[in-house]
Subunit: 120 residues, 2 copies
Protein backbone atom coordinates (compact mmCIF):
# COMPACT_ATOMS: atom_id res chain seq x y z
CA UNK A 1 0.00 0.00 0.00
CA UNK A 2 1.67 3.27 -1.11
CA UNK A 3 1.70 6.32 1.14
CA UNK A 4 -0.94 8.99 0.75
CA UNK A 5 0.29 11.95 -1.32
CA UNK A 6 -0.70 15.00 0.73
CA UNK A 7 -1.08 18.25 -1.19
CA UNK A 8 -1.08 21.70 0.40
CA UNK A 9 -1.93 25.11 -1.05
CA UNK A 10 1.84 25.72 -1.32
CA UNK A 11 2.67 22.42 -3.05
CA UNK A 12 4.32 22.77 -6.44
CA UNK A 13 2.09 21.14 -9.03
CA UNK A 14 4.99 19.65 -10.98
CA UNK A 15 6.50 18.15 -7.80
CA UNK A 16 3.17 16.61 -6.85
CA UNK A 17 2.72 15.38 -10.44
CA UNK A 18 6.13 13.70 -10.26
CA UNK A 19 5.17 12.00 -6.99
CA UNK A 20 1.86 10.80 -8.46
CA UNK A 21 3.60 9.47 -11.57
CA UNK A 22 6.19 7.63 -9.48
CA UNK A 23 3.64 5.99 -7.20
CA UNK A 24 1.40 5.02 -10.14
CA UNK A 25 4.36 3.49 -12.00
CA UNK A 26 5.30 1.41 -8.95
CA UNK A 27 1.88 0.53 -7.52
CA UNK A 28 -0.57 0.96 -10.42
CA UNK A 29 -2.51 3.56 -8.42
CA UNK A 30 -2.08 6.49 -6.02
CA UNK A 31 -4.11 8.33 -3.39
CA UNK A 32 -3.92 12.12 -3.28
CA UNK A 33 -5.39 14.13 -0.41
CA UNK A 34 -6.08 17.87 -0.17
CA UNK A 35 -7.84 20.11 2.34
CA UNK A 36 -9.23 23.47 1.23
CA UNK A 37 -9.92 25.00 -2.17
CA UNK A 38 -6.34 26.04 -2.93
CA UNK A 39 -4.94 22.61 -2.10
CA UNK A 40 -7.69 20.87 -4.08
CA UNK A 41 -6.89 23.12 -7.04
CA UNK A 42 -3.18 22.24 -6.82
CA UNK A 43 -4.06 18.53 -6.61
CA UNK A 44 -6.27 18.72 -9.70
CA UNK A 45 -3.58 20.52 -11.70
CA UNK A 46 -1.00 17.97 -10.54
CA UNK A 47 -3.21 15.09 -11.71
CA UNK A 48 -3.61 16.76 -15.12
CA UNK A 49 0.18 17.16 -15.37
CA UNK A 50 0.80 13.58 -14.16
CA UNK A 51 -1.51 12.36 -16.93
CA UNK A 52 0.93 13.82 -19.42
CA UNK A 53 3.95 12.32 -17.64
CA UNK A 54 2.38 8.86 -17.65
CA UNK A 55 1.24 8.90 -21.27
CA UNK A 56 4.83 8.10 -22.24
CA UNK A 57 4.55 4.94 -20.13
CA UNK A 58 1.26 4.05 -21.84
CA UNK A 59 -0.51 4.52 -18.51
CA UNK A 60 -3.82 6.35 -18.93
CA UNK A 61 -4.78 7.65 -15.48
CA UNK A 62 -8.10 8.93 -14.25
CA UNK A 63 -9.26 10.01 -10.81
CA UNK A 64 -12.25 9.68 -8.54
CA UNK A 65 -12.67 12.37 -5.87
CA UNK A 66 -14.38 11.53 -2.58
CA UNK A 67 -14.97 13.27 0.75
CA UNK A 68 -13.07 11.91 3.74
CA UNK A 69 -13.00 13.06 7.37
CA UNK A 70 -9.48 13.45 8.74
CA UNK A 71 -8.12 14.44 12.17
CA UNK A 72 -5.64 17.32 12.06
CA UNK A 73 -4.33 18.71 15.35
CA UNK A 74 -7.25 17.15 17.22
CA UNK A 75 -9.81 18.77 14.89
CA UNK A 76 -11.95 16.98 12.35
CA UNK A 77 -11.59 18.39 8.84
CA UNK A 78 -13.21 17.37 5.58
CA UNK A 79 -10.61 16.51 2.97
CA UNK A 80 -10.92 15.56 -0.67
CA UNK A 81 -9.21 12.29 -1.48
CA UNK A 82 -8.54 11.52 -5.15
CA UNK A 83 -8.14 7.87 -6.03
CA UNK A 84 -5.84 7.98 -9.07
CA UNK A 85 -6.08 4.77 -11.07
CA UNK A 86 -5.08 3.43 -14.47
CA UNK A 87 -7.66 2.79 -17.17
CA UNK A 88 -7.41 -0.71 -18.60
CA UNK A 89 -5.74 -0.41 -21.98
CA UNK A 90 -7.21 -1.89 -25.10
CA UNK A 91 -5.73 -5.30 -25.75
CA UNK A 92 -3.95 -5.23 -22.40
CA UNK A 93 -4.00 -8.20 -20.05
CA UNK A 94 -6.68 -7.79 -17.38
CA UNK A 95 -4.21 -8.81 -14.67
CA UNK A 96 -2.02 -5.83 -15.40
CA UNK A 97 -2.40 -4.33 -11.91
CA UNK A 98 -1.42 -7.57 -10.22
CA UNK A 99 1.67 -7.79 -12.38
CA UNK A 100 2.70 -4.41 -11.04
CA UNK A 101 2.45 -5.60 -7.45
CA UNK A 102 4.90 -8.38 -8.22
CA UNK A 103 7.35 -6.03 -9.86
CA UNK A 104 10.93 -6.05 -8.55
CA UNK A 105 10.96 -2.27 -8.34
CA UNK A 106 8.14 -2.12 -5.83
CA UNK A 107 10.40 -1.17 -2.94
CA UNK A 108 11.38 2.08 -4.64
CA UNK A 109 7.86 3.46 -4.26
CA UNK A 110 5.96 5.57 -1.86
CA UNK A 111 8.54 6.42 0.79
CA UNK A 112 8.88 10.02 -0.32
CA UNK A 113 5.28 10.42 -1.36
CA UNK A 114 4.46 13.36 0.88
CA UNK A 115 4.91 16.59 -1.04
CA UNK A 116 4.68 19.82 0.89
CA UNK A 117 5.55 23.19 -0.55
CA UNK A 118 8.24 24.01 1.98
CA UNK A 119 10.28 21.00 0.91
CA UNK A 120 10.56 22.19 -2.66
CA UNK B 1 -22.87 16.48 -27.85
CA UNK B 2 -24.08 17.73 -24.44
CA UNK B 3 -23.45 21.28 -23.30
CA UNK B 4 -20.45 22.10 -21.16
CA UNK B 5 -21.35 22.37 -17.46
CA UNK B 6 -19.74 25.62 -16.31
CA UNK B 7 -18.99 25.88 -12.61
CA UNK B 8 -18.30 29.14 -10.78
CA UNK B 9 -17.06 29.81 -7.26
CA UNK B 10 -20.67 30.54 -6.31
CA UNK B 11 -22.16 27.39 -7.86
CA UNK B 12 -24.02 25.13 -5.44
CA UNK B 13 -22.29 21.76 -5.40
CA UNK B 14 -25.54 19.81 -5.21
CA UNK B 15 -27.00 21.72 -8.16
CA UNK B 16 -23.88 21.06 -10.23
CA UNK B 17 -23.94 17.41 -9.13
CA UNK B 18 -27.53 17.14 -10.31
CA UNK B 19 -26.60 18.62 -13.68
CA UNK B 20 -23.65 16.22 -14.04
CA UNK B 21 -25.82 13.24 -13.12
CA UNK B 22 -28.51 14.28 -15.63
CA UNK B 23 -26.07 14.75 -18.49
CA UNK B 24 -24.25 11.47 -17.72
CA UNK B 25 -27.55 9.57 -17.59
CA UNK B 26 -28.56 10.97 -20.97
CA UNK B 27 -25.24 11.07 -22.80
CA UNK B 28 -22.99 8.61 -20.96
CA UNK B 29 -20.51 11.41 -20.22
CA UNK B 30 -20.27 15.08 -19.27
CA UNK B 31 -17.77 17.92 -19.50
CA UNK B 32 -17.35 20.23 -16.51
CA UNK B 33 -15.36 23.46 -16.72
CA UNK B 34 -14.06 25.68 -13.93
CA UNK B 35 -11.75 28.70 -13.75
CA UNK B 36 -9.94 29.52 -10.52
CA UNK B 37 -9.30 27.57 -7.32
CA UNK B 38 -12.73 28.13 -5.75
CA UNK B 39 -14.57 27.04 -8.88
CA UNK B 40 -12.31 24.01 -9.33
CA UNK B 41 -12.98 23.06 -5.71
CA UNK B 42 -16.75 23.32 -6.24
CA UNK B 43 -16.47 21.23 -9.41
CA UNK B 44 -14.50 18.48 -7.62
CA UNK B 45 -17.02 18.35 -4.77
CA UNK B 46 -19.87 18.22 -7.29
CA UNK B 47 -18.25 15.28 -9.09
CA UNK B 48 -17.87 13.44 -5.76
CA UNK B 49 -21.56 14.08 -4.99
CA UNK B 50 -22.64 13.09 -8.52
CA UNK B 51 -20.77 9.80 -8.06
CA UNK B 52 -23.14 9.03 -5.20
CA UNK B 53 -26.21 10.08 -7.23
CA UNK B 54 -25.22 7.82 -10.12
CA UNK B 55 -24.40 4.75 -8.03
CA UNK B 56 -28.14 4.10 -7.80
CA UNK B 57 -28.19 3.93 -11.62
CA UNK B 58 -25.23 1.52 -11.57
CA UNK B 59 -23.14 4.17 -13.33
CA UNK B 60 -19.62 4.37 -11.88
CA UNK B 61 -18.20 7.73 -12.96
CA UNK B 62 -14.62 8.92 -12.94
CA UNK B 63 -13.02 12.11 -14.19
CA UNK B 64 -9.96 13.27 -16.03
CA UNK B 65 -8.90 16.89 -15.50
CA UNK B 66 -7.09 18.79 -18.26
CA UNK B 67 -5.97 22.35 -18.88
CA UNK B 68 -7.81 24.27 -21.58
CA UNK B 69 -7.40 27.84 -22.80
CA UNK B 70 -10.68 29.75 -23.01
CA UNK B 71 -11.60 33.26 -24.14
CA UNK B 72 -13.58 35.23 -21.56
CA UNK B 73 -14.35 38.88 -22.24
CA UNK B 74 -11.62 39.02 -24.86
CA UNK B 75 -9.03 37.68 -22.41
CA UNK B 76 -7.42 34.27 -22.52
CA UNK B 77 -7.83 32.32 -19.28
CA UNK B 78 -6.64 28.87 -18.32
CA UNK B 79 -9.56 26.70 -17.24
CA UNK B 80 -9.69 23.19 -15.87
CA UNK B 81 -11.97 20.93 -17.86
CA UNK B 82 -13.05 17.66 -16.26
CA UNK B 83 -14.09 14.90 -18.65
CA UNK B 84 -16.58 12.88 -16.58
CA UNK B 85 -17.02 9.40 -17.98
CA UNK B 86 -18.49 6.06 -16.96
CA UNK B 87 -16.29 3.11 -16.09
CA UNK B 88 -17.22 -0.04 -18.01
CA UNK B 89 -19.08 -2.27 -15.60
CA UNK B 90 -18.09 -5.87 -15.02
CA UNK B 91 -20.19 -8.15 -17.18
CA UNK B 92 -21.73 -5.17 -18.92
CA UNK B 93 -22.04 -4.97 -22.70
CA UNK B 94 -19.16 -2.98 -24.18
CA UNK B 95 -21.60 -1.04 -26.35
CA UNK B 96 -23.31 0.42 -23.30
CA UNK B 97 -22.46 4.03 -24.18
CA UNK B 98 -23.82 3.67 -27.68
CA UNK B 99 -27.05 2.27 -26.29
CA UNK B 100 -27.42 5.45 -24.25
CA UNK B 101 -27.09 7.60 -27.33
CA UNK B 102 -30.06 5.83 -28.87
CA UNK B 103 -32.18 6.25 -25.75
CA UNK B 104 -35.61 7.87 -26.16
CA UNK B 105 -34.92 10.27 -23.31
CA UNK B 106 -31.99 11.91 -25.02
CA UNK B 107 -33.86 15.13 -25.74
CA UNK B 108 -34.23 15.87 -22.04
CA UNK B 109 -30.48 16.37 -21.66
CA UNK B 110 -28.06 19.21 -21.74
CA UNK B 111 -30.25 22.21 -22.41
CA UNK B 112 -30.05 23.47 -18.84
CA UNK B 113 -26.54 22.26 -18.21
CA UNK B 114 -25.09 25.61 -17.19
CA UNK B 115 -25.23 25.96 -13.44
CA UNK B 116 -24.41 29.31 -11.92
CA UNK B 117 -24.85 30.12 -8.28
CA UNK B 118 -27.23 33.01 -8.83
CA UNK B 119 -29.79 30.73 -10.44
CA UNK B 120 -30.12 28.58 -7.35
Amino acid sequence: MPDMIKVSAQSLTTAVAGAIAGVVRDHGRADVQAIGASAVNQAVKAIAIAHGYLEDDRLDIYCLPAFVEVQIGGQERTAIRFAVEVLAEEGEDDEYDEDWEEDDEEESAGDSAEVEGEDQ
